[in-house]
Amino acid sequence: MGATNNRARRLVRGVGDRTVLVASGELSFAEFVHARNQRLLDLAWLVTRSTEDARDAVQEALTGLYRNWERLPAGDEFEAYVHRTVVNACLRVIRRRPRWLPVPAPGELRSAPSTTDAAEAVATSDELWRLCGELTAVQRAAVVLRFWSDCTYAEIGSALGCTEATARSHVHRATARLRTRMAAGEQ
């Protein structure tokens, strides 16, 4: 657990959207895990859509990162490496899944909106999230990296192990499919 590297200041600012960690010196693997736990779990959950799979994927990804911790690239390349490791772990976990349709636990079901004001936006959001589940795992990972992680197409390509053009194609096809399905649902 003593492995450290010198990318502390840049990394710790990326913790969630509301947290600023002020650190000095080198960043140990344990500090990295403490700081990025929730963010990585969020990313994995969006791609896998399962709490258990998300945890498995992040655990697997972190194990991979730990092995190479002292040899990892610094700066932006490090971020891309982390994204790639987590997304690949998610895709592996999805491939290992038994072929069944998961039924959400009652606690995960959200109640339907009761008013029509904000309700429409909520319903659209819910429906889009539901339709994201119909995308292929790679398309969903591309959408999450593009619209949630704000990655560039080059970064998405790096994370998915494909060219920038292919990443652009994944996002485009996924967006088009969501658009079509949403339009079909409104009619």
Binding site: R18, Q38, T124
Partner: protein
């Protein structure tokens, strides 16, 4: 980004904000997994080319010998006799750390069940170490026939070491049977309760603070970064810990306070000009293991905004 893509972004953010809680990954478990899976594979991989080279040389040697007439004597056919190189006997010195055998006499059997969200790197009773005890895991039963009437349960986690005294009568009426000591989260720290047969005769009081008890908790303070006074400031953490301050003037910092094992996200309520404002974190956040944490409170456009600065 067009309107539809913005809707996708909002949808993903809403989904994350409402996602079910996921237990954070413990760096210690990654450390162990990494050591267990990575190192041997790399050593094995390093040996592969050497093994391949040996196999190649041996193969060539065998091929050369096989193709040279008269140099290899014929071996008479017969029944091969295979003898074991050494007989294998079980070692008498190996004793399992946890046993499922029935207790003898008035002995009791104890096991630990970790119902808390914390992973403990070590758990034990008296001088018996039961190994690591991750969240939601249970140990095997351990016999305690000759132990004293006050036994110590000790837990080692990322936040320090805890000890609990477990009292068992030693007046000859000592109950026998199976007991489960359940570790629960109570007030932001572990607590132990007993269940099982005659549980009134065995109980686990509050931590008895053994000599080696070490706490490495974060120090928490508040800062009013706004222009107005905040009154009745209250921070509540998911584990039950609470920090209350009567009022906090503009620019004021409170003293640091030790809050036990808490997570980053805290629910905050304040009163400003007679109106109560509240802030609910999107998730419980990472566990604050050590260091100084400052919760910065400010009121922006009539809404309470909270950010956290952690100095490690």
């Amino acid at each position: 980004m067009d309107e539809f893509e913005q809707q996708i972004r909002n949808s993903l953010r809403t989904a994350v904000a409402n996602r079910p809680p996921i237990l954070p990954i413990d760096p210690g478990s990654v450390d162990v997994a990494g050591r267990a899976t990575a190192r041997p594979r790399r050593q094995w991989a390093r040996l592969l080319p050497i093994a391949a080279a040996f196999a190649l040389i041996a193969g060539i040697g065998v091929a050369v010998l096989a193709t040279r007439p008269g140099t290899v004597p014929a071996v008479p056919a017969g029944t091969p006799s295979i003898q074991p190189a050494a007989s294998v006997t079980p070692s008498a010195s190996v004793t399992p750390s946890a046993t499922t055998a029935s207790p003898a006499g008035n002995g009791i059997r104890l096991r630990l069940f970790n119902e808390s969200p914390w992973d403990f790197t070590s758990a034990g009773i008296n001088d018996r170490n039961l190994g690591p005890l991750p969240s939601q895991m249970i140990t095997g039963y351990v016999d305690y026939t000759d132990d004293p009437h006050l036994m110590n349960v000790h837990l080692v986690g990322a936040d320090g070491t805890w000890g609990f005294g477990v009292s068992v009568p030693d007046d000859g009426a000592r109950p026998s049977g199976d007991y489960t000591l359940t570790i629960r989260a109570l007030g932001g720290r572990p607590s132990v309760v007993a269940s099982g047969g005659d549980r009134e005769r065995i109980f686990a009081p509050e931590p008895n603070a053994p000599e080696n008890q070490v706490h490495d908790y974060p120090q928490v303070r508040l800062h009013n970064d706004g222009a107005g006074t905040l009154e009745h400031v209250s921070l509540r953490w998911s584990g039950g810990a609470q920090l209350v301050v009567d009022d906090l003037k503009p620019g004021e910092y409170t003293e640091y306070a030790e809050m036990g094992a808490v997570r980053l996200g805290a629910e905050v309520t304040v009163v400003v000009d007679g109106r109560q404002l509240s802030y609910t974190p999107k998730s419980a956040g990472a566990k604050l293991a050590r260091g100084n944490a400052t919760y910065v409170l400010r009121v922006v456009d009539g809404a309470l905004d909270v950010t956290t600065e952690v100095q490690q």
